[in-house]
């Protein structure tokens, strides 16, 4: 893994925190929707993972998704916000992080917005499938709907993430203060 600038690490840390906070904020609204559809979740995680995708797109470094996933799982464990996953939550946080890294690696030649949208869809999908394998054990149409909700919410989050990344990229990649001074 190439060396990551401190500034980029700070952005990644902010994205991790925002991911956890957004999940908490969105969860009452998400519960109304998932209760009506009679599925055990899938919406809050997509919002949480959107920030990981933003972080990975801004830092543009392979492994940043996994790093943020690991950090998020650490924060979630420390705060006791692991939900029904309990001690298994690090797996459920890190697998979508790996998925984000792989999507950005495979689509490195594609347009940034295409890669962001793909990551926003695939990350919640892997998260939902992991949670299903570890906890829910859903089958058939319910599983398809649960995964579909995760993908749809992820896709909608992608529409938010793309303009956010477009605006933030010039800020993240701006020359640092001391470099400016030297020139």
């Amino acid at each position: 893994m190439k060396r990551i600038q401190l500034r980029k690490l700070l952005y990644m840390a902010i994205c991790c925190d925002l991911g956890i906070i957004s999940k908490r904020l969105i969860s009452p609204f998400a519960n109304v929707l998932t209760d009506a559809l009679h599925v055990p979740g899938g919406i809050g995680t997509s919002f949480s993972l959107m920030f990981l995708v933003i972080g990975a797109a801004l830092t543009d470094t392979f492994g940043s998704g996994l790093l943020m996933g690991a950090l998020q799982s650490g924060i979630a464990l420390a705060l006791g916000a692991t939900g029904s996953l309990g001690a298994l939550s690090p797996i459920a946080y890190m697998i979508p992080g790996i998925a984000i890294d792989l999507v950005f690696l495979l689509l490195r030649r594609a347009k940034k917005e295409t890669a962001v949208m793909a990551a926003c869809i695939i990350a919640p999908l892997t998260a939902s499938l992991t949670a299903n394998a570890l906890i829910f054990q859903l089958k058939g149409v319910v599983l398809l709907l649960y995964a579909g909700i995760a993908c749809s919410t992820g896709a909608l989050c992608g529409l938010i993430a793309i303009p956010l990344i477009e605006r933030l990229l010039p800020v993240v990649n701006a020359p640092s203060w001391h470099r400016k001074k030297a020139s």
Binding site: T34, P40, E113, L145, L156
Partner: protein
């Protein structure tokens, strides 16, 4: 511009497919009337009215997601008693799958129901019942809003 159009088409398609799954799921799922519990045994469906079950105080401690011990003291009934109320011989079963309204389910073994008497349905303030299995290291099987018991 063309790329943005493509992205919008993909988003639309994903949402559309999910909507189709939602319609299929809502039209094919087994609906259980409020205040009752569906019991599936040997291919037969029977309903037990929650109000008619004799609840007594269930007390003990369970472990939450943070690993902390939580004291439980609320009205409830053992799974064994629920099965007896439904006319099922609890000694002859292999286990029970407790299914929630959102299809989240937990498996309970015959020993946990009969010999050890660890599994209970506890009544919540909103009238629904949740599964409590004493002795578990986490809350994985503490399934809320149980609507169906599948007896194996």
């Amino acid at each position: 511009m063309k790329n943005k159009k493509m992205i919008l088409i993909v988003v639309g398609l994903v949402v559309l497919v999910t909507a189709v799954f939602a319609v299929v799921h809502l039209n094919t799922r087994t609906t259980v009337p409020e205040g009752s519990l569906l019991i599936q045994h040997q291919g037969k469906d029977s309903y037990v009215q929650l109000e008619k079950l004799t609840m007594s105080e269930v007390s003990g401690s369970i472990v939450n997601g943070k690993g902390e011990q939580i004291e439980v003291r609320q009205p409830g009934i053992s799974i064994r008693d629920v099965l007896i109320a439904a006319g099922i011989d609890a000694d002859k079963i292999k286990g029970v799958s407790a299914v929630a309204d959102d299809e989240y389910s937990a498996e309970i073994l015959s020993e946990e129901i009969n010999e050890q008497s660890l599994a209970y349905l506890a009544k919540e303030e909103d009238g629904t019942v949740k599964l409590i299995v004493f002795g578990d290291p986490n809350m994985k099987r503490n399934v809320r809003n149980i609507v169906k018991l599948i007896v194996n």
